[in-house]
């Protein structure tokens, strides 16, 4: 049988069960997602400026969404904020995919651009 005290963090070690660390990891995850949007916007920008700018503009909005549950938010606000932003990001990705599909099918291509120095 294991000792329950064995799972408790030693003095000086970070407490992995602390909500603050979970919040920080989630916030960083939102930042990475916003960077992914920016990267996609950069790729599209090469082919279609307007579409690229639209996707690039989504990136700071996604980053801002990730900051909505700051340390000042109460636990009761979490499910509402969480559900809304998850739906927003799903709609954003589907919209961005459709825009990318249009650019891929209808847009002018630069064949061999990857091979050029």
């Amino acid at each position: 049988m294991t000792d329950p005290a064995a799972n408790e963090p030693e003095a000086g070690e970070p407490d992995e069960t602390d909500r603050g660390l979970a919040l920080e990891r989630t916030s960083l995850s939102w930042t990475r997602t916003a960077i992914s949007f920016a990267a996609l916007g950069g790729v599209v920008l090469r082919e279609n400026v307007i579409t690229g700018v639209v996707i690039l503009a989504v990136a700071p909005l996604i980053w801002r969404l990730g900051r909505l549950t700051g340390s000042g938010s109460s636990a009761s606000q979490l499910p509402i904020v969480s559900g809304t932003r998850i739906r927003i990001i799903t709609v954003s990705i589907v919209g961005v995919s459709l825009l990318s599909l249009l650019v891929a099918v209808l847009g002018p291509s630069v064949p061999g651009a990857l091979l050029r120095p």
């Binding site: 082919e47 499910p79 630069v110």
Partner: protein, 131 residues
């Protein structure tokens, strides 16, 4: 299942938003991070598809080769984002009810899609090399 019931199935609280109890915020955050990781995977697929169509040199003898490889990746990115949302809802509902977490279909979808894309890539390359 009624129309409202089908809609409710895509809502974290199920038919009744107040169903179950609010889970530990750490679990809610973990579920959210998993969803975000799948979202980034979806975006990466879209970037890859767009890059193939727009930047790769054409395959000799297979004029539609780049579209054959790139367009499915972009569509897969959109599908993955929608399925990831469904998974997030199912997991959140299970957390609220205290049920075991449901099995995820996402790895299966991704593995099958990557295997399919590998086969299509091999066919396009072979056709291109033979002409």
């Amino acid at each position: 299942m009624s129309r409202s019931g089908r809609f409710a199935a895509w809502w974290p609280g199920g038919a009744d938003p107040g169903e179950g109890h609010e889970p530990d915020p750490r679990f809610t955050f973990a579920n959210e991070r998993t969803f975000l990781a799948w979202s980034r995977t979806a975006l990466a697929l879209v970037v890859a598809g767009l890059g193939i169509v727009q930047l790769l040199p054409p395959f000799p003898g297979v004029p539609a080769g780049r579209h054959l490889l790139g367009v499915p990746l972009i569509v897969l990115g959109a599908v993955l984002a929608i399925v990831a949302y469904g998974e997030w809802v199912r997991n959140q509902r299970a957390l609220r009810r205290g049920d075991p977490l449901p099995r995820s279909v996402m790895p299966w979808i991704l593995a099958a899609a990557i295997a399919g894309m590998a086969v299509i890539s091999a066919i396009v390359l072979l056709l291109s090399a033979l002409r």
